[in-house]
Symmetry: D2
Subunit: 358 residues, 4 copies
Amino acid sequence: MVEVMVIGATGVVGQQFLVALADHPWFHVAKLVASPRSAGKRYVDAIRDRATGSIRWYCDEPLPEQFREIVVESFREELLDDVDLVFTAVESDVAREIEPKIAEKKPVISTASAFRYEEDVPLIIPGVNHDHAPLIERQRQNRGWKGFIAPIPNCTTTGLAISLKPIMDAFGLKIVLMTSLQALSGAGRSPGVIGLDILDNVIPYIPKEEEKVQKETLKILGNYAGDHVKPARFKVSCTCTRVNVRDGHTECVFLSTEKKATVDEVKKVLREFRGCSDMGLPSSPKRMIVVHEDPFRPQPRLDRNTEDGMATVVGRVREDPALENGIKYVLLSHNTKMGAAKGAVLLAELLYKEGYIC
Amino acid sequence: MVEVMVIGATGVVGQQFLVALADHPWFHVAKLVASPRSAGKRYVDAIRDRATGSIRWYCDEPLPEQFREIVVESFREELLDDVDLVFTAVESDVAREIEPKIAEKKPVISTASAFRYEEDVPLIIPGVNHDHAPLIERQRQNRGWKGFIAPIPNCTTTGLAISLKPIMDAFGLKIVLMTSLQALSGAGRSPGVIGLDILDNVIPYIPKEEEKVQKETLKILGNYAGDHVKPARFKVSCTCTRVNVRDGHTECVFLSTEKKATVDEVKKVLREFRGCSDMGLPSSPKRMIVVHEDPFRPQPRLDRNTEDGMATVVGRVREDPALENGIKYVLLSHNTKMGAAKGAVLLAELLYKEGYIC
Amino acid sequence: MVEVMVIGATGVVGQQFLVALADHPWFHVAKLVASPRSAGKRYVDAIRDRATGSIRWYCDEPLPEQFREIVVESFREELLDDVDLVFTAVESDVAREIEPKIAEKKPVISTASAFRYEEDVPLIIPGVNHDHAPLIERQRQNRGWKGFIAPIPNCTTTGLAISLKPIMDAFGLKIVLMTSLQALSGAGRSPGVIGLDILDNVIPYIPKEEEKVQKETLKILGNYAGDHVKPARFKVSCTCTRVNVRDGHTECVFLSTEKKATVDEVKKVLREFRGCSDMGLPSSPKRMIVVHEDPFRPQPRLDRNTEDGMATVVGRVREDPALENGIKYVLLSHNTKMGAAKGAVLLAELLYKEGYIC
Amino acid sequence: MVEVMVIGATGVVGQQFLVALADHPWFHVAKLVASPRSAGKRYVDAIRDRATGSIRWYCDEPLPEQFREIVVESFREELLDDVDLVFTAVESDVAREIEPKIAEKKPVISTASAFRYEEDVPLIIPGVNHDHAPLIERQRQNRGWKGFIAPIPNCTTTGLAISLKPIMDAFGLKIVLMTSLQALSGAGRSPGVIGLDILDNVIPYIPKEEEKVQKETLKILGNYAGDHVKPARFKVSCTCTRVNVRDGHTECVFLSTEKKATVDEVKKVLREFRGCSDMGLPSSPKRMIVVHEDPFRPQPRLDRNTEDGMATVVGRVREDPALENGIKYVLLSHNTKMGAAKGAVLLAELLYKEGYIC
């Protein structure tokens, strides 16, 4: 078993890591790390509200029994000796400081954006661009690290990049325009989105989100070029909004392909896209992309849990009357499953399988 | 005073007509028409639920006192003798049957889609394309009518067409792509959208909506050509979704102009667009378009009532990195005010002022 | 295997029956009955929307494969020859007409209210008042039926009666006052509650609900007296409201016991109440009542699926300062699981086990 | 004009004070006080978000022009020389520290709970228990203050106490049991209720709320006894829950009167209750209590703005079958209007009129 540490284990994303790692066939959670306030407490007490005694557990799945009694620790570099792999679930500013220190010794799979845009850091979605993984070696050389940092993309990028991949491969891409209708859970809980602000409302702006999605999509779908990734050459633009939905980001995509493609051809390549489904990764969806014919799908509440939240669900594939070789569709991607902790575990599985870990 | 009749007066849109017509300086409600079930009852009793005695009044504004006691009638052609103008708030299939009969004698301002796409029927937004009004004369000649049918556009078209007009005039338009996040009230109440379906959800499809918006936008922004309107020549595509918002359609627009325009230039033409603000129409907004600098605006709950729901509120005007001469922005338009009954009253005001009525 | 028929199989409650009966160890679904419009179609086609091709399946669980291809039939009395037991999921007026005809030949487990208040009809919750079951024999004699009608209670009654039972048995009850905050799914879909009406709102009235709950609670907790049930003698009053929650009725209870009981004593009897947990019924919860110490529980979204929606979840057990021997608490009961189809299957399991069926 | 200071002017309640005080006929806002971070800025800049430039204004009404340019100050005792009256909109711990210092010199009308339960502090609702006002003199003597502290009740208490007053006066009260369904705005914004927690949910607990309501109701409806208020002698118990509603607390009341009263008699005393309607107070509702016959009312969204949020709206008055001389009803009270800043202004109007201020 690969011994793993989760940093930020008591937060929302940390909790999702525990669910994703419970009874994992390859990874064994050896260390739970959180802020000094939690250190020394059993996990179940570390997430207990002092005033009311309530347990602050935010996943739909129950807190796995195996983690209840583990004593949470503060981060110390010595702890790294006991683990083979570190998952981080911390804010970007903390990540910027702590992740390089860890990477000196051990691999880091990160949910933070801190290092996503650095030249020697790949941004990998298994089944989409795992051929970028060798950049990790370059990163190690550049930085003199034994470990490395491998971040996952922003949760809004993930579904978009997955759905674009088979279309790009088959027909080429010229232009991609996307409007997102994002779920509340993407904003976290500190304080996240206030109920008062989202009730009977849409918030048409998510700071920095659009820039992240635009940049990351091109990096993921770009070409590995030895010492960096050459971004894909199509144009991307998006508008990111927040709607009153708990989980599941809906994205309305308009695109223009290089080569004319019919609606049926597009559906076919989407349906046939295997992604990482055949790679033997335990957290992989069986179907990377699920395509609906029902025009009322995908809907967040009906479709977000498809393949335990690891599939990208696509519907309303239509010809676009405004763009040259235009296609439009709607996709749904579970922002706290494939788009966060479980997606990070999937990435770790890939890197482990390919020999980058241990 | 112009004597008016409201057909479908007890329904949701009919009620909005009553609010828009209460104490109107030019129009006097002479006749309230509804289904035979309501006929012969005082208005306040016609909208009363028999089982519980509840009054089924759906506007935020209270039921204007002046209409409470008016006796509702069934439609009969003789009633037309007493009025100068008819507003219809009925389903499209009913409109198709009843409106031509009325138009033989009297002008009809319609909220239904039944006649929107006919060649000799203009689709007018005051201040945007009132120069299409002369098509009404052609319609009268073609059909041998004393009256005419003038429909208002779909509520999702209205804000889009208004915001595009000054941009088109200043810079030309090549491509327009729009994703809407539409309010529940747009779906009406029979049965409209079930609470169970929209709670914690987005519905990514509204039957026929996208086709309507695409077609109507081009007709409104087209050129009056004597016996018909020549549609505008840019390309339009949209994806229409339903979100859990009561009133106010949010629309995320991406567009490509003929002539390069900076963000500041676009904001300037939007802000300077007077629309029908100076035409002396009682229901006109003072500001046709309101442009926000705050990136978190427009929001439906905060902005839908701007200028009593008659303004188009625009925000997030940015350069679009994917389209040639690309601009993107978000707009908000009140679907049951400017987009429905009060917008129809505004149109009637224009046509009255220009001599088409009485 | 007991061969069963589901009447109203295509409706929402009918769909929940299919989920509750899929792979059932004792019951085999032999016949699916629905309106003539559905007759002759495969189940999956009978629930397909003609206009859009969408499948109208409303459960969280997927449509069980085993039912997809079954051909739906119209009700005919001859069909009864092939089954041992009938579940009905129809409106009360239909139930009133059809259930007696079926009961002449076969047992009927009904979700409708039509026969709940008749003297020779027991209203049984397994584990609460299964000692009322012998009234079924009297019903058969009275009416000359081979079968019988056994309805389940209103979904709002169920959790209340379950939580009251152990308190009544241990301490006696004098007064019960309850305010419910009911979920949308309790109102069904035809049309149920309109999104426009419940967004940012509470509806303080549910027609006939309060009377049902008051009457049924006393009947369930009453004494079997040979030829009828003598209602319990405590007083009950309730106020039933609708809130913007999908599933799970929250009920705030204030009560006065005959014998003084401490909060700890009340929690103890609630926790120790086994209900039908030890009766070997496949659909029974393992814990009939779950009691939380966390004052923020129960919450519908966090707790409704406890024991697959078959447990009654109680929290906030406190002394009541206003009533003599006062206790107050909050309970949550899943209205479409224990409170509807799966609760009906549980009742059928009890009656089968006790020899009333086959 | 009475010169007034608002402390906490930039917060949500402070903003509501500005709306309530704009163009007030008696009170002139002379000083706006907020935290040192805001000091020295124009009001409109003090509420501007630094990162995005957004103005953080949370009322439905626009920011009154007259306050935009006022320079916000930090609290210093010298500022008190320029004002006659102070409104505080601060947290309870801040109130406990600052309000006594102010009261040494000037009257304080407080929205905080800090001093509500002290013996020489009256808890006054104009029109309900203004006869408690003389306790202010005692407070001054006891504490050697020139000013005084007069807090308003908790927002959940207000509507309950108002609706109980005429019933108590006419029939006497023995027992009151109340379940509240409270709006999000009652929880404020720091952080208030997270959208993730209330979507598709009810939260059955609001810390300390029930104790406040129980204690305050008895104090308000008690008798002024020279040097303190003797609490009313009936019993009160409540359960307070949070629901997904923006503004407007719904309360379901069950009560037992001393003297038997019919439903019509109760409605009559509620309807005839004038409260402070005839006292010539500018912020007073014209109708203190509005009683609906429609069983579907009151609803928060339809009724919260009755009399600009200053009326208590009552519906569903019925006989209660469980309590002796039992009556039950549902009430709605606007928690941020009558229940907060505007209610505080109303109290100040009363105290000014009665000579306690200036």
